[in-house]
């Protein structure tokens, strides 16, 4: 007889801890919990990860979930604080085993093979709500959609998201105001904000003068509204292509994204460099830059919603005028030198 535990969006190190703690629980309490990432009776979700938050939102009413984070910002009934501790972990499993029916069939492989959500690994994607599991990315369901709506309606708004300073949206200035954040190195909570779904925000229309007073009083920092539209698209796309776009369309950057004002990672520089000089479709961009397709799609979505792309639809029999569209032929010596420079800079 045993019970099964799944994990979602856990970092590798935490996953290893969980595995060893399950062993400890068995030795200490005599209760057999095994890891089963295909269909656990309970799922431990790292809600400090954007993918974990999305998972939480999609499944919290359907599955038995344990939130795992620095703080219980989702007010979960079942919560484990980081870092994992043996006592709290085993006690929680003991409580759960008192409320669950034990399984008698053989466990579905107890190996720790599932990986945290990353663009380099396949995502475990159990059946989800249509919005999360959809093949296409619909920005209206996320922060980017709220901001685009505010822009088109020219309505000053205050968006509130649990645990964060308010986000004042001033469409007349094309700016947002909130507390300062390091865009090149977002912390997990800030990533959550950018990845959040629209229904997680409460929105209030404001008089612009009142909004300005509040901004001044709080000393909030001004950001270009596209900082948030871009960031939301980048962090909530999860490898799903923007609605009404095709993987086969030929795209090129109109201009270099001003990364000093945009959430980004070093890989995005490579994509920008290629897309600034070449016209190519998404699979070609992924292959030329050796980036995972999901990373390219997320970047494409962020650029498209920020009006940074020339997009030319691919049509049968039409010869798209590609510029270069080939890898640069650098000597291995020069490539090594460039790699050494980045390593020296800690990138």
């Amino acid at each position: 007889m045993h019970y099964t535990l799944s994990t979602y969006a856990l970092e590798k190190r935490d996953k290893l801890f969980v595995n060893s703690m399950l062993e400890l629980t068995k030795k200490k309490l005599g209760i057999n919990w095994v890891l089963d990432d295909t269909e656990g009776q309970v799922t431990l979700v790292d809600i400090d990860q954007p993918a974990g938050v999305n998972f939480w939102e999609a499944y919290q009413s359907e599955k038995r979930l344990i939130a795992f984070a620095d703080n219980n910002h989702v007010r979960a009934k079942l919560f484990l604080e980081k870092p994992l501790r043996v006592q709290s972990f085993t006690e929680l499993l003991k409580q759960l085993s008192e409320h669950l029916d034990p399984l008698t069939s053989p466990p579905n492989t107890a190996t720790a093979t599932a990986t945290p959500r990353s663009h380099t690994a396949a995502e475990p994607t159990p059946a989800a709500k249509p919005s999360l599991d959809a093949q296409h990315y619909d920005p209206t369901q996320y922060l980017s959609g709220l901001l685009q709506t505010a822009l088109s309606a020219q309505e000053t708004q205050m968006l509130s998201f649990s645990g964060f300073a308010p986000l004042y949206v001033m469409p007349q200035e094309k700016r947002c105001y909130t507390s300062a954040m390091g865009l090149a190195n977002l912390n997990p909570s800030q990533k959550m904000l950018f990845a959040a779904r629209s229904e997680q925000f409460s929105c209030a229309a404001l008089n612009p003068a009142l909004a300005r007073d509040a901004i001044q009083e709080q000393g909030y920092k001004a950001y270009d509204i596209y900082t948030f539209i871009w960031g939301s698209a980048l962090l909530s796309s999860n490898g799903r292509l923007l609605t009404n776009h095709s993987m086969q369309s030929f795209v090129r950057l109109k201009q270099w994204p001003n990364f000093t004002a945009l959430p980004h990672q070093p890989t995005h520089m490579k994509l920008a460099a290629f897309m600034l000089k070449n016209t190519a479709n998404i699979p070609r961009i992924a292959s030329a830059t050796q980036m995972p397709l999901a990373t390219v799609i997320d970047f494409f979505n962020a650029c498209a919603l920020s009006n940074l792309l020339h997009i030319q639809k691919a049509q049968a029999g039409v010869n798209v005028n590609t510029h270069a569209a080939g890898e640069k032929k650098l000597s291995s010596e020069k490539r090594g030198l460039l790699g050494n420079i980045l390593r020296r800079l800690g990138r």
Binding site: A184, L253, K254, Q255, W256, N258, F259, T260, A261, P266, M269, K270, A272, A273, F274, L276, K277, A288, T289, E327, K328, L330, K334, R335, G336, L337, L338, N340, I341, L342, R343, R344, L345, G346, R347
Partner: protein
């Protein structure tokens, strides 16, 4: 002049930057007490022991004789434009015209500094300038006192050399 070349090199160099700053005279003195008249020099040791040499070339046109000398064999070029200068787009035009053959053979990155002091021209005007001149180059608004901003320009330069 005054765009922050010396500061940018200081942000990267592991040795104290060697420079030939002198007290500025004429109209330059109104904007900056000291200005570079020959070059700045800094160094970074790479993981394999090689030295990356970083040169800052003088910004004023009358010292343009140095530009070609320092560019010989250079891996890449970062152009810093002082947005609070008298004619920042004119400065950019001067540099891009002069360095165009080099840029076409390799690449360049443009950093626009002091946008907090002068908000005009905005980045859109720089993009427009590049588009009109059929140049596709990275542009950043930067504060070169922030090391991360300087590193970001180097990252972009490396990415352009590798993929652009």
């Amino acid at each position: 002049m005054g765009a922050g070349k010396t500061t940018a090199i200081s942000a990267l160099s592991e040795i104290p930057v060697i420079n030939t700053d002198v007290r500025a005279t004429d109209e330059a003195a109104l904007r900056k007490e000291r200005t570079t008249v020959a070059m700045d020099y800094g160094e970074m040791t790479l993981p394999d022991g090689q030295k990356l040499r970083i040169y800052g070339t003088p910004g004023q046109e009358r010292f343009s004789y140095m530009w070609g000398i320092l560019m010989e064999g250079a891996l890449g070029l970062i152009i810093l434009v002082d947005n609070a200068g008298d004619n920042p787009l004119g400065d950019l035009d001067l540099y891009l015209t002069h360095f165009r053959p080099y840029i076409e053979a390799t690449t360049a990155v443009i950093g626009v500094t002091r946008m907090d002091v002068a908000t005009e021209p905005g980045l859109e005007q720089y993009y427009d300038y590049l588009m009109q001149n059929d140049l596709q180059l990275p542009i950043f608004s930067v504060d070169v006192r922030e090391r991360d901003n300087v590193v970001m320009m180097i990252e972009a330069l490396v990415a352009m050399l590798e993929f652009g």
